[in-house]
Each structure stands twice: as structure tokens, then as C-alpha cells.
């Protein structure tokens, strides 16, 4: 999933201050799962904002709505009526959702209420880890299912640097050494020989390095 976390309340207050009628628009898929922008978070944020504005002696009208996915036109349409009633959309979707809203509602102000963080998983309750950087050229088959591009702090493709100790990366005691995990996995599945092969410089053309990407499925185009 795409993970994110809500922006600090003070930053959100500054963003919505110039407006009187705000629609807080939640997104019911990824950001809901990581507790950043689902229905519950919309409700909590709405209360917090109302309270803050009351304390400041200012008025604000807040409407709440959550749609299934802000990144899909089919669902976005459901928000049209509420958008019409408000001055600004405070979107709690990921960056893709915020931009999809801005594309669909060309004359509306759309503000981000969430910092989009990464493509990851919920490793344990409340703990999310980054697993994929969407480089457009998946090499997980060589690395035993552990991504060296994303999970090695130096994106090393030919083995661990000299800073790996007891399975921990040099950058922080909270960061596992991806190469330690790769070697553990390859040992377990009997594929350690993969590591003897020289991996040439990665082609980053398929990543964001090559410019904003587009995926075209001719068979689905109308």
C-alpha cells in the first residue's frame, strides 16, 4: 500500500486559515489502512480544527466526507456536491489522490493534509516499513525477495558495505541491514550463488530519474 501520515495540526491550521468553508475529504483505501486519512481520521481532524479555531476566536465551517479512492474518477464524482458547497478541499489522500482531485476539479483549491511517505507494508500493528521504490525494473528474483534498491541505505546491488554489523545498518540501530536479510533469505532458499554474479550498473531510466512516468495499456485504451 501507499503509506502516509497526517501533517502536524499547526501546519494544517496555517493551510486552511484563509478559508471559511472547508471540506475534509478522506480516502478509504491505503491511507485509511495506515491511520492517516480514513473516515476516523477525518472526524478526529475536524474536531481538532473546530476546537483550535474556536480557541483562536475565529470561525470555520467544516464538512466531512470520505470516498473509497481519491485516485479514481469513478469515486471522485461522489464528492462533487460537497465540493460545490465549500471553498476548499483539504484532502487526506496520498499525493496521487490530491493531484487527481486537482485534475478533476480544475477551479478548486485542493490542499494536502497528509505527507505521503512510501510504498510499504504494516509489519506489525502500527509499524509500517518501506519495501518498494517503484523503480520500474524489479530485481527481487535475484535478491531472494528483499529489495536492495529500497532497503539498502546505499542502494548497493553487489553486496553489503563495511558498515553492516550484527544485522544492523550503519545509519541507525533501528534499521536492518538489507544485505543481511538478503543473505539470510538466499541461504534459506539455497540460492547463495546469486551473489557471485556481478550486477551491472542499474538502468534508472525506468525510475523517476527518467522523468515522470506513464503506463500505457493499449488493450484497455478507449
Amino acid at each position: 500500500m501507499i503509506t502516509g501520515e497526517q501533517k502536524p495540526i499547526n501546519e494544517i491550521i496555517e493551510l486552511v486559515k484563509p478559508f471559511e468553508k472547508v471540506l475534509i475529504l478522506g480516502c478509504g483505501t491505503c491511507v485509511k489502512t495506515c491511520f492517516a486519512g480514513g473516515e476516523d481520521e477525518v472526524a478526529v481532524l475536524a474536531s481538532a480544527l473546530k476546537l483550535s479555531f474556536k480557541k483562536m476566536g475565529e470561525t470555520i465551517e467544516i464538512e466531512e466526507q470520505t470516498i473509497e479512492r481519491q485516485c479514481e474518477n469513478e469515486f471522485i464524482q461522489e464528492a462533487a456536491a460537497a465540493i460545490g458547497r465549500n471553498e476548499v478541499i483539504l484532502s487526506l489522500a496520498c499525493g496521487a489522490g490530491v493531484q487527481a482531485m486537482a485534475k478533476r476539479f480544475k477551479n478548486e483549491v485542493v490542499l494536502p493534509g497528509v505527507n505521503t511517505t512510501f510504498i510499504g507494508i504494516q509489519e506489525s500493528p502500527g509499524v509500517f516499513t518501506e519495501e518498494c521504490s517503484g523503480c520500474g525494473n524489479c530485481g527481487l528474483a535475484i535478491f531472494g525477495g528483499v529489495c536492495a534498491v529500497t532497503r539498502c541505505s546505499k542502494k548497493l546491488l553487489n553486496g553489503p558495505c563495511g558498515g553492516s554489523q550484527n544485522g544492523i545498518c550503519e545509519i541507525s540501530p533501528d534499521t536492518e541491514c538489507a544485505w543481511h536479510l538478503i543473505i539470510e533469505r538466499l541461504t534459506a532458499i539455497g540460492q547463495m550463488d546469486n551473489l557471485k554474479t556481478y550486477i551491472p550498473p542499474k538502468n534508472w531510466d525506468t525510475s523517476l530519474s527518467g522523468g515522470p512516468r506513464k503506463l500505457i495499456r493499449e488493450d484497455h485504451k478507449i
Binding site: S153, K154, K155, L156, L157, N158, G159, P160, C161, G162, G163, S164, Q165, N166, G167, E170, I171, S172, C177, W179, H180, I183, L195, K196, Y198, I199, P200, P201, K202, W204
Partner: protein
């Protein structure tokens, strides 16, 4: 094979090589380099010039190496892949060669989070093994990474680092083999304090025939104080200072600890001199260059 550099020639002749280290200043003051050159010149075959080590911005490794060339002291230009993409890397290698630099040490580089500007964006376009192969290909095929024929191809004597003290230990010899396959000519190791572990690493490298294919220079750093020993063990990535050595440093009077540190360093060099598969020593006297001459002399490594 015609030697590319003095360091190469020394190793080709089968002589025990001695290299030193020179960290460029945090500023544009060439005099700092001149001072270090004075302390090192005549004692070592070549001197590593670090490339923004610990991710702290310093005078560039190429510029500082060029000052060494001008002073008649051979540099080993360090190059990390943290700060440059492949375009800048190849360009800098050509530039370095044109300035008279003949040795390069290919490194990943300390992560920027250790430095004074942790908010920097890193590059890591290619890794250190790719860098070795790139320099090797430029030298041996005369082509850049795109396959373009260079009019004059840089001829570098290619080095890399190895850390026998990092984990996973089982993988460390395999990684050495990988660097050899990529085209490395010499290896400088992380500072050796845990001699037992170093011996085990070199034993395995000998067993695999790797020490026949690459020159290995054992890394040593004289310790100034017991505090430094403890600090290196706890805070410096990839360092392994055994408790016994820390205790030994602790056991002597504060004013004699530097002397003890040099003594330990000399004992390590003595063992390295006799060790099969070790071809030299790399003395990293960090901001303590004045002791290098003394160490070289007492170790009987004078030319």
C-alpha cells in the same frame, strides 16, 4: 605489465608497500595539505586522499591529490559513489588522470547521515563494485560506460576497501572475490585491531586463491588514548576494537597511552609483515601524521 604508478611498481617488485592517509581540510587552505605532505613525504610510497570522509564537506579529493602530485608525493585518490552519478564519476576520473593522478580507491562512502549536512540527497547511482568495473573498463578497453572510444583513456591502478570485521562474516570473502572479478588491483582493509578475525579472513582468502590475484594492504591506525579506542569500537561504523586492547590502553598512565597505541600498531605491523597473502600496510594516522615516520622507521619499513 608496465607499472602504472609507484605503488603499483612497489607491489610488482614484491616489496612490502606502505601507504599513508591525508584528510583534506575543511576549507580552501592548501597549506594544510603542504604540512601533511611534509610529515609523510619520504616515509610512504603513496598517500590516500579521502573524499569528503564521514560525509563532512572538505576540499575535493581531486584537488588535494593534485597538490600532492605537485609536491612529489604520490596520491591514492579516494572516490565515493555517494555524491556523484556515473556521468560525474567518469568525467572526474578523466580529469584526475589528466592532472597526473594514477591510483584510485573505489568506495561506497559513509552515509550522509553521519556528516554535518544529513539533509543532503545522496546519489548512489552505481555501487563501489560497479565503480571498480568502470575504471577497469576505461583503462583496459579505452571506452567509457556508453562504449564510446576515448581519445586518451585514463590508466589507473585500481584499489578498493575490504572490511573483514563487518558482518555477515561468511560473505566477506565472497565480496572480496567479487571485487577481484570486477577488476580491482589492490585492497586496503579496515583498521585491524581484532587480529584473530583478520587472520581467519586472510586464511580463507588464501584458501580461495584470492591473495594471488590482488595485493592486500592491511589497515592500521595508532590509537592516541583509551578513550579513542572505546569511541572507535562504539561509534565508528564497521570498527572492531577487542575489549582486551581497550583494557590494555586503559591500563597505562594517560600520558603514556599514545606511546602504548604506537606500540600496539607496531606489533600489528610486525604480524602483517610475516603473514602470507598480505603485501603491505596502510597507515591511517588520523590527524596524527607526525608519527607515521616514526612508525615506519621502527617497523623497519624504510626505503
Amino acid at each position: 605489465m608496465k607499472p602504472i604508478s609507484k605503488l603499483h611498481e612497489t607491489l610488482l617488485n614484491g616489496d612490502f608497500a606502505v601507504t599513508g592517509e591525508c584528510g583534506p581540510p575543511r576549507g580552501a587552505n592548501k597549506e594544510v595539505i603542504d604540512e601533511k605532505v611534509k610529515l609523510l613525504n619520504g616515509h610512504v610510497t603513496a598517500v590516500n586522499v579521502t573524499d569528503n570522509q564521514t560525509a563532512i564537506v572538505r576540499m575535493s579529493s581531486i584537488a588535494a591529490s593534485t597538490h600532492l602530485v605537485a609536491a612529489g608525493l604520490e596520491p591514492v585518490m579516494q572516490m565515493v559513489v555517494r555524491d556523484r552519478n556515473r556521468i560525474a564519476i567518469q568525467s572526474d576520473i578523466m580529469g584526475a588522470y589528466s592532472l597526473g593522478i594514477r591510483n584510485i580507491l573505489c568506495l561506497s562512502g559513509d552515509h550522509q547521515c553521519f556528516g554535518s549536512q544529513p539533509d543532503a540527497r545522496n546519489v548512489f547511482d552505481i555501487d563501489s563494485v560497479n565503480l571498480i568495473r568502470t575504471v577497469r573498463d576505461m583503462r583496459d578497453t579505452g571506452k567509457d560506460m556508453s562504449g564510446f572510444d576515448l581519445d586518451v583513456a585514463p590508466q589507473m591502478f585500481i584499489g578498493a576497501a575490504a572490511n573483514p570485521f563487518a558482518d555477515p562474516f561468511e560473505y566477506r570473502v565472497l565480496r572480496l572475490g567479487k571485487k577481484i572479478d570486477a577488476g580491482v588491483d589492490f585492497i586496503q582493509t579496515q583498521c585491524i585491531y581484532n587480529m584473530a578475525r583478520f587472520k581467519e579472513w586472510i586464511r580463507r582468502a588464501n584458501e580461495e586463491g584470492l591473495t594471488e590475484k590482488v595485493y592486500i594492504l592491511g589497515g592500521v591506525t595508532p590509537m592516541k588514548t583509551a578513550g579513542m579506542a572505546r569511541y572507535m569500537n562504539n561509534k565508528v561504523a564497521g570498527m572492531d576494537v577487542p575489549e582486551a586492547l581497550i583494557k590494555r590502553m586503559d591500563g597505562v598512565d594517560k600520558k603514556d597511552q599514545a606511546k602504548e597505541g604506537i606500540k600496539i600498531c607496531l606489533e600489528t605491523i610486525e604480524e602483517l609483515k610475516e603473514m602470507k597473502g598480505v603485501h603491505g600496510v596502510h597507515i591511517m594516522a588520523i590527524e596524527w601524521e607526525e608519527v607515521v615516520g616514526q612508525i615506519v622507521e621502527q617497523a623497519g619499513l624504510n626505503k
